[in-house]
Amino acid sequence: MDINLTIIGQSIAFAVFCWFCHRYVWPLFANVLEERKRTIAEGLEAAARAEQKLESAARQSAEQLDEAKASAAGIIEQANRRSAQIIDEARQQAQMEAERIMLAAQAEIEQEANRAKEELRAQVSLIAVAGAEKILGRAVDQAANEDMLRQLAAEL
């Protein structure tokens, strides 16, 4: 084995190459890998955040949907109640109106009947006197029988 200056030359070359690699090569790749690692970590974190956001948005939308359904149901119920109420009211009013019309008609009928009675009553004494005169064959003193005639009219 011929050991000679080559061994020193190789030692120097080794030192220089190690220095060069340490100074100019290694950091380039270390930085790139570091940067990529960071980017990936950030990406994953952002994805996790987005997923969380999506979840909360879904939850929120479901809540809102539920709320909307509940309020729609409330509105419908209210409307139903209101319509029933309106119908009720209308029915009541109609009944009242009908009663009123009936009462008015009854009153009118009664009045009519009363008037007819009054008229009848006014004429009953005349009819009675005329009848009696026919029966007796002579005039009846109306004034003398005034009380009896009035009593008869009132009994009618």
Partner: protein
Amino acid sequence: MAAAGAESQTVQEYIVHHLSYLTFGRHPDGHWGFAHSPEEASEMGFMAIHVDTMGWSIALGAAFLLWFRRVGLRASASNPGAIQNFVESIFEFVDNRVSEGFTHKNSLIGPMALTIFVWVLLMNAMDLVPVDWITGIAAWVGEHVFGFDHMPFKIVPTTDPNITMGMSLSIFVLIIWYSIKHKGLGGFLGELAFHPFGKWMVPFNLMIEIPTMLAKPISLGLRLFGNLYAGELLFLLIAGLLGLWQLPAHFVWAVFHILVVPLQAFVFMMLTIVYLNAAHEPAH
């Protein structure tokens, strides 16, 4: 592939040629120049440099780092391209091994592990280039352009012990540096002297612990060298001895070697991480 060499060389010469380095150094007479034969190269002793393996080593390391830097500068966190994905997968692979194996804080370990893994992988992978392609072209250029007969040109840096030991010794220096830094000089020497048998057995402890310590860088460097050298040598033997039969043999050995190439790069990186992690443990 061996045919071109075999015309003018014996198999032995062919293999020796392929195992020689293009060596530039100080000749015994004092002037500097290329060694024109293995004998001349060994006469130069320590004052020489393997131009081929050193050059390939630096070229591959620089190519890897500049390419990674280029990809890194254009990298985008949100929209990575295919090339960026590829480089990032290597980066993440190394980064994961470091975070598993290294439990302390030191920003140098990651870049060092990445450098070791990719650089050693590339140097090992040169083993898969057929043995005569580049070496043959270089020998032809050497002979016809520079008048350099039988110019050797080794292209697999990790078959040169200088290359593997250069790295493992650098790591050894770091192990000692961080040991002293984190355990204190006393703690570091204490671990050598008072383990495993307490203070009455100091010489015996040192006899165990010092070789243990030295074995780490030596085994680290020689394991890589040995695996790749053996692999390369077998490619050369196949090329030199088998004639036409070398084609299926090369294929089989190359497939096996595809496993060895990344495995040895991985082992070198893992052991570096483990050794340096141990160096960061506080003294006990």
